[in-house]
């Protein structure tokens, strides 16, 4: 079923506005439900109460918590890029390494990080390094897999071209395989950046004195539910912006790697 509008301009406008209209409608409905049934704030706060709570918290406090979460998430993200991409390249070069490492990677990936996080805190203390490690455990695997997939998807003909030119392997890696992996690497990066936020929040849930995750947990435990919701939405917006920045980076620096419309 498709909506037919006589004017293609109006149609385009509707398509652009639809998600916003839906979002605003949803918020209004939420507000309405809360007011009509007079739900208590500690069950489900109305959007207006959440907005109120958001502005009641000082800006500098928001920034302190934001910075604590962002710092860990970004460090974890960067560390996993620096580690995962070389490992993926090394794995592409050596079948032995792939066979040796892959099971371990799968084990790490399939172990719930939430369960491991307390142990890491016990082992390494409740400072940034252990939080970054917790984040890395989440972000690392999708990056290795996407990079390795991309590298392996290099057309066989180009590898033959490289061989026929008798070019050094180093150039085959840098001039053919890695650029070919870029679209896949970005798919991995988009997944990893949102996982990085999740990792940072998980670490804060276990042990922290600041951070948005800590803020949400703290607010909940004091039954300041609107404030917890405010923290949650703030976190969601930050996560979305980070996701978008990865997309923008790809659009600006690697426009050729985007799927064609």
């Amino acid at each position: 079923m498709s909506l037919t509008l006589p004017d293609p301009k109006a149609r385009r406008l509707l398509l652009a506005a639809a998600p916003w209209l839906f979002f605003v409608g949803l918020i209004l409905l939420w507000e309405l439900v809360c007011r009509v049934f007079s739900l208590p704030e500690y069950v489900l706060p109305a959007p207006s109460a959440i907005i109120d709570a958001f502005f009641k918290v000082e800006f500098s406090r928001w920034m302190t918590h934001l910075w604590a979460t962002l710092r860990v998430a970004l460090m974890g993200f960067l560390v996993s890029i620096v580690v995962a991409i070389p490992i993926a390249i090394a794995m592409m070069r050596s079948e032995l390494l792939t066979r040796t490492l892959y099971p371990l990677l799968v084990v790490i990936q399939s172990t719930p990080v939430v369960a491991v996080a307390p142990l890491i805190i016990v082992l390494m203390g409740s400072d940034d390094p252990s939080r970054v490690l917790i984040t890395c455990l989440l972000t690392f695997f999708p990056l290795v897999v996407s990079t390795a997939t991309g590298i392996n998807e290099t057309p066989a003909e180009l590898i033959e071209l490289s061989r026929s030119l008798d070019a050094p392997t180093r150039r085959e890696t840098w001039q053919i395989r890695i650029p070919y992996a870029i679209p896949h690497i970005f798919t991995g990066l988009r997944v990893a950046i949102t996982l990085a936020i999740i990792g940072a929040v998980v670490a804060e849930f276990v042990a922290a004195e600041e951070g948005l995750g800590y803020f949400i947990q703290f607010s909940t435990s004091f039954f300041r539910i609107p404030q917890a919701f405010a923290g949650l939405f703030f976190l969601a917006v930050v996560s979305l912006l980070l996701f978008k920045s990865v997309q923008w980076t790809q659009q600006i620096f690697f426009p050729w790697s985007l799927p064609k419309k």
Binding site: P155, E157, L158, E160, L161, S162, R163, S164, L165, D166, A167, R171, E172, Q175, I176, P179, I182, F254, W256, S257, K260
Partner: protein, 262 residues
């Protein structure tokens, strides 16, 4: 290796064969191919899918070592990749992050890590010859399939190879583009004579382009027949309507469909 025949033959295959799987129960991909290609000769190879045409091509390029027999170029055995060979693949396989000129220059960049101003000039000349000069700054995805494959051919010519190996280069193109690019290839070849080994599924294309058409058998692939194409050059689209062209394609078809009767 002496004798006038050897001196004249540029690429020589003597009893060449290849087996991918060391297990002797599986058939060889190619076996017992004897072939002499003259310098600047245009040889087309036709045959059913999976008959080892590509294997043959890879053995000549040095990408693949024959497991039997020997390939020699100018009397010297081929024992590894050679840089006097240009390869054009079935798909254009251009690098999507480089513009057309940089794609053409890629073999130099890849082999030596750099290229000179002279090389850039040569790339532009080649692009002009292929009628692509106005596309030099475009990205590959802005080009049609036919134009992309033309860039692929120009790229293969950059290092000025003596031998041009073409592995079903036009099979991904639509029929009209395919015919046009065939004439373009002939023009390029007449201006820059090369020894060409051209693999194709199209009988008409083989007859139109080549001096000689080889017919390969099913796996294990070996040479069944050889057809001299005595159509005058330069060949144009009028060649297709000549009775001799029809005669030759018909004879080639007979070789392929009823190998015993021919």
């Amino acid at each position: 290796m002496t004798g006038s025949a050897t001196n004249r033959s540029f690429v020589r295959l003597s009893g060449v064969g290849h087996r991918y799987d060391p297990d002797p129960k599986t058939p060889k991909a190619v076996t017992g191919v004897n072939l002499d290609i003259q310098r600047h000769e245009f040889v087309a190879v036709v045959g059913p899918s999976g008959c080892g045409k590509s294997t043959l091509l890879r053995m000549i390029s040095g990408l693949l070592k024959p497991t039997e027999g020997e390939v020699t170029v100018f009397g010297r055995p081929v024992d590894g990749p050679r840089d006097d060979v240009g390869i054009v693949f079935q798909k254009p396989t251009l690098l999507p992050w480089l513009n057309v000129r940089k794609n053409v220059l890629f073999p130099l960049k890849h082999k030596y890590g750099r290229y000179s101003h002279e090389d850039e000039k040569r790339a532009d000349e080649l692009l002009e010859m292929a009628g692509l000069e106005s596309f030099a700054g475009k990205m590959p995805d802005e080009l049609s399939g036919g134009m992309q494959q033309r860039v692929g051919i120009v790229r293969a010519l950059l290092l000025n190879p003596d031998i041009l190996l073409m592995d079903e280069p036009f099979s991904a193109l639509d029929a009209m583009t395919r015919e046009q690019i065939g004439f373009d290839l002939l023009k390029i070849w007449e201006e820059n004579p090369k020894t060409v080994l051209f693999i194709t599924h199209s009988i008409a294309e083989a007859v139109l382009l080549a001096d000689r058409v080889l017919v390969m058998s099913k796996r294990p692939g070996t040479l069944l027949e050889m057809l001299e194409v005595d159509l005058p050059r330069p060949r144009t689209r009028h060649t297709i309507s000549e009775p001799r062209f029809a005669e030759l394609t018909e004879r080639l078809r007979k070789h392929i469909y009823e190998p015993d009767a021919a």
